[in-house]
């Protein structure tokens, strides 16, 4: 059953400065509320332990996407609908739009925000693996100032992060690379859930691999749902970088990935199933890389 409505409080300061002042004055007392697509579900289930919230959804300062030569910078209140509509993201970072389009239905995508997804810190969230694969950074702002942290170091454990209690997630930055600077790029995003739409993922997978000829020059591979945090499998990445796509030891690298993930049994799936799916998605990535190299050589 839903929690008692009168037990919950919501304050609505009009500006970012006022929100930050409140967070600094009473650290940990007020929890930010943006689109509410996570918080309201917990509330509806009668399990929302926190009772004091500060509305940040109306803050204009946290909206908008800015594209510069070296990065795409997204305001924390960027919705999944906004992500899908941004042409530069569609061209250069297609996994962002794919992840956004598979997050709930359209009405959820109109409300849910990237900043909320990051702050909520669910290891099963859809956008975070793509953000890791694209080497994103997160801006945390408080009355003490603003700092950028690499998203790869943001999550410290199950639902714990480096964000201090007086800090708000304000922006997300995805670095761009110069066209052709690293050969050609392969992107692969896959969400595996109980059904195609409107489901929380069991396992999600995002990989961004740069290939020069047949040699892998850079690889970032991230998974959701297989560890307490959304995880970059750095040993797997290390085994990929420098390798030749045509002679890749898929079994050995797959075994490395399998050692890096630590899935659990829970309401959505079993550890065994998740591990197998993670391994299979890696095999799919290697097939995609081989097809990419094959097509590339034909084109030449």
């Amino acid at each position: 059953m839903r929690a008692h409505v009168a037990s919950y409080d919501l304050v609505q300061p009009g500006s970012l400065r006022e929100v930050l002042t409140l967070l600094a004055r009473e650290p940990g007392v007020y929890r930010p509320l943006a689109g509410g697509t996570d918080v309201m579900v917990v509330y509806a289930g009668g399990k929302l332990a926190h009772t004091k919230f500060v509305d940040v959804h109306g803050l204009r300062e946290l909206r908008g996407i800015v594209v510069t030569d070296d990065a795409v910078t997204l305001g924390a209140l960027t919705t999944y609908t906004d992500v899908q509509a941004e042409p530069t993201l569609g061209r250069e970072f297609p996994m962002m739009g794919q992840a956004a389009s598979e997050t709930g239905g359209w009405a959820i995508q109109n409300r849910g925000t990237l900043g909320g997804n990051i702050a909520n810190a669910s290891p099963a969230a859809d956008s975070p693996p793509a953000l890791l694969a694209y080497d994103a950074s997160v801006e945390l702002t408080s009355t003490r100032g603003a700092r950028w942290v690499s998203y790869a170091t943001y999550h410290t454990g199950y639902k714990t992060t480096v964000r201090a209690e007086d800090e708000l997630v304000t922006r997300v930055r995805i670095p761009r690379i110069a066209p052709g600077a690293q050969g050609s790029r392969v992107h692969m995003f896959r969400k595996v859930g109980p059904r195609k739409a409107q489901a929380i993922s069991k396992v999600s997978f995002a990989a961004c691999v740069d290939v020069d000829g047949t040699r892998i020059t850079s690889a970032r591979v991230a998974l959701g749902g297989v560890a307490p945090v959304v995880l970059r499998v750095v040993a797997t990445e290390g085994a990929l970088v420098g390798a030749d796509v045509t002679t890749l030891d898929v079994a050995a690298i797959g075994a490395t990935l399998s050692r890096e993930v630590t899935p659990i049994d829970d309401i959505r799936s079993t550890a065994r199933y998740r591990r197998r799916v993670a391994e299979n998605l890696f095999v799919e990535l290697t097939r995609k890389l081989k097809a990419h190299v094959g097509l590339g050589s034909q084109a030449r």
């Binding site: 009168a6 919950y8 009405a107 959820i108 739409a197």
Partner: protein
Amino acid sequence: MVAPHVDVSNDEHAELLACRSLVTLRINGRETKLTIAPWTTLLDLLREHLDLTGTKKGCDNGQCGACTVLVDGTRINACLTLAVTKDGSEVTTIEGLSAGDQLHPVQKAFIERDAFQCGYCTPGQICSIVGLLREGRAKTTRDVRELMSGNICRCGAYANIVAAIEDVLTEASHTPDGEREP
């Protein structure tokens, strides 16, 4: 205006928090001012405070789409939205789509195509479709099915719902001056 509903609580602090936020919404073209508990969802505001019961409560946690309404033209789940966070907005519910006896084209198409059985999901389906038409992204049957994935019909009237949407899309492409027929 309907008097605000006050929740009864033993908790004194909770009593103080209840019914202290003023919210102004333009609902189906009428300005509506209410004093509510800040944690009142837009869905409860419509149904419990204003008796606008056309908008349905299904799962109450954002999965079924029965509570879909339009806020400033954008479709959202009213169950996941706190009303005070939409202060100053224009809200359109199923009650606000027709012009008197003149049904909205989507409502007409639903009747033509028999796009419902029990009807519980229908108001949410129709509001969602009005949002979908405004977005202008649905070009193919596949788009329609994908972009309507947030509205579940337990009776399984999907085939007829899709047919109704396609009728309206075809008609809209022939009448460039808007969704509503004269």
